[in-house]
């Protein structure tokens, strides 16, 4: 081809000194070896933290949901259910902690779907990295939000008169267990984030998943007064087991089996849902 003026004329680098840095930047011989899976996931976790730094509004839900839930349910039900709000708080706080954190896991799918619609995810998918890294990294970043929500809930509880007999160790273990479970449950929302068409649709469906999981549980009341069919759901609902274990750890009375049940449930959720997520992620159009 000889006629195109663009390719026969003087090359732009010689006429435009502004392009010399470009040549310098291109003269890169280094091809570093690939980062490991954990390194790649942590880089995406760093991205999630940067997003919190630049868009701190996204912590609103993590800070306000626990405050509203704790105040509202303590004073709404406290008098009727336990005689006074303060006694009810001893029962409610571990449950409301679980509910507050699980409610904000819906943003996982929302964020993922937004990334996809803005075109950021195709860049990630075109990189030679461990495939699940972007999603695992985002989930790791989300645990920061869950930790913020946990600190808010427990802090407010302590101010209102919640006194955990399990001490600092019990409370910390309870929060860790909750973070593990939230990470595992989030895979439901990554699936929704990948298959739904818009971020708002993800929110709608996620809420429909979360409502029966969190409300139809032992968060608010002892299930013994519930009708049989509801009791059997509450009995198998993993959130009920999580709440039982959290209460136990905070009160210093948890049995090993209660904690192990939650860990096994988390492992099963991840083992089933993570590969489904990755399969959809890989084959996405």
């Amino acid at each position: 081809m000889t006629t195109s003026p663009a390719r026969t004329g003087v090359t732009p680098a010689r006429t435009d000194p502004g392009l010399n840095p470009l040549r310098a930047a291109l003269a890169l011989d280094e091809r570093p070896s690939r980062p490991g899976s954990l390194g790649a996931a942590l880089t995406f976790g760093w991205r999630a933290l940067l997003k919190i730094k630049h868009v701190p509004e996204q912590l609103f839900d993590a800070t306000l949901t626990p405050v509203i839930f704790t105040l509202m349910f303590t004073y709404l039900f406290g008098g009727a259910l336990a005689g006074d709000p303060r006694s009810y708080l001893q029962y409610l706080l571990p449950g409301i902690l679980v509910q507050s954190v699980l409610i904000i896991t819906v943003y996982t799918g929302f964020t993922l779907n937004t990334d996809i619609s803005k075109g950021v995810f195709d860049r990630f998918r075109s990189l030679p990295i461990w495939r699940p890294a972007p999603i695992v990294g985002a989930l790791l970043g989300d645990t920061v939000r869950y930790s913020v929500a946990s600190v808010m809930t427990i802090g407010l509880g302590l101010i209102l008169g919640f006194r955990p007999d399990g001490g600092v160790v019990g409370v910390v273990l309870a929060v860790l267990l909750l973070l593990v479970f939230s990470f595992s449950l989030s895979w439901i929302f990554t699936i929704l984030g990948l298959v739904m068409r818009s971020p708002n649709a993800v929110m709608g469906v996620s809420m429909m998943v979360l409502m029966p999981l969190t409300f139809a549980s032992n968060v608010f009341v002892d299930p013994s007064t519930m009708p049989g069919w509801l009791q059997s759901w509450v009995g198998v609902n993993p959130v009920s087991h999580l709440v039982t274990a959290t209460r136990g750890l905070m009160a210093g009375t948890a049995s090993t089996s209660e904690v192990v049940w939650v860990l096994v449930a988390s492992a099963v959720l991840t083992a089933v849902l993570a590969p489904i997520t990755m399969r959809i992620y890989r084959n996405r159009n």
Binding site: M1, T3, S4, A6, R7, T11, P12, A13, D16, G18, L19, P21, L22, R23, A24, A25, L26, A27, L28, E30, R31, P32, S33, R34, P35, G39, A40, T43, W46, R47, L50, K51, H54, V55, D115, K118, G119, V120, D122, R123, R125, S126, L127, P128, I129, A133, N283, N285
Partner: protein, 334 residues
């Protein structure tokens, strides 16, 4: 025909369906190393889908493709280490700053923390974004945005670069900047596959090009070959009075001996000019004057994509409306 080793990109019979639509319907592409190849076509023609298959983002339903000799399905990870991608679907994170985006990508390619910051700095410098590195990408102008996208795709100096509509929606100055960048990249030995809706862009940059329509390659060759089949130019006329259009159409058709295209604008007409038709075209103004038809604008120039299409398919371009096929809009520019 170049032999196998020299081909940077080689696709055979690529097919991709989305539900009932055959977005890509048996596309063959051969791009020799160190050259620029253009995929030219209107919205929804299947250009983006073809590029996404070559860049390992989409699995072909049929056919095969190799990039630098590596199969895009079986050796996807190897291919990913050799290519860069920029387009509507491969963007940067607009909540992050320019520096943060590039550092993140450098880290993902395995650079150390210090080397990543150094790499980000030299890329920002190279793309004339040195002062904007600390700002969130969402504050960038359209041209800056496209440059940071390009910078993000050459963090490791890829040997093959896919550019999906690199200049759609850009002003002429920014467009020229992007073109200069592409030329330097190719000068440096990279192979570039770019998609575009503009014949001029393919003409400026590409050594060879394919014209794609409804997922099929309808013409292939150098821009010289393509124009030979289309005619080297076109006449565009805009009338002062739209009621003159039927008369003007008759005169243009007679003078140029070519079919006349009526634009949706009721004042405008255009027609292709054959290679030896410049002399005829020059007779057009006097002929219109003779007929007392007032002309507001008259130009003789390169055929547009519309005219190429009209010549190749006998019908004008018609963008697909279904948005689950492809939406190659200007959204990414906003």
């Amino acid at each position: 025909m170049p032999n196998q080793q020299e081909l940077a990109i080689e696709a055979r019979g690529l097919v991709k369906h989305f539900k009932e639509t055959r977005a890509v319907d048996g596309v063959d592409i051969e791009v020799p190393e160190g050259t620029v190849y253009g995929l030219l076509g209107p919205n929804g023609a299947g250009k983006t889908t073809a590029v996404r298959m070559l860049a390992t983002l989409l699995r072909p339903d049929a056919g095969s493709a190799r990039v630098l000799g590596h199969d895009v399905i079986r050796e996807a990870d190897t291919v990913r280490g050799l290519v860069g991608l920029t387009g509507q679907y491969a963007s940067v994170d607009e909540d992050l700053t320019g520096t943060e985006n590039l550092v993140m990508l450098a880290r993902l390619y395995g650079f150390s923390r210090a080397a990543s910051y150094a790499r980000a700095r030299s890329l920002l410098e190279a793309f004339d974004l040195g002062d904007a590195g600390g700002r969130q990408v969402k504050t960038y102008s359209g041209g800056m945005r496209r440059r940071i996208d390009l910078a993000a795709s050459i963090v490791i100096s890829p040997r093959v670069l896919f550019l999906d509509e690199p200049t759609t929606g850009l002003d002429p100055r920014s467009r020229n900047q992007v073109w200069d960048i592409v030329r330097v990249l190719v000068d440096d030995g990279a192979t570039v596959l770019l998609t575009t809706q503009y014949l001029e862009e393919a003409d400026q940059l590409a050594d060879r090009m394919s014209v794609i329509d409804h997922g099929k390659v309808i013409a292939e060759g150098t821009s010289v070959e393509l124009k030979a089949s289309v005619g080297s130019g076109a006449v565009h006329v805009r009338l002062a009075d739209s009621t003159d259009r039927p008369a003007a159409e008759r005169i243009i058709a007679q003078t140029l001996d070519a079919p006349v295209t009526l634009a949706s604008d009721p004042y405008a007409l255009s027609a292709r000019v054959a290679d030896d038709g410049t002399e005829r075209a020059s007779r057009l103004l006097p002929a219109l004057h003779e007929a007392r038809i007032m002309v507001a604008e008259f130009s003789l120039g390169q055929p547009s994509l519309d005219e190429v299409f009209l010549a190749l398919t006998g019908r004008p371009t018609e963008p697909e409306t279904s948005d689950d096929v492809e939406t190659e809009t200007n959204e990414a520019v906003a």
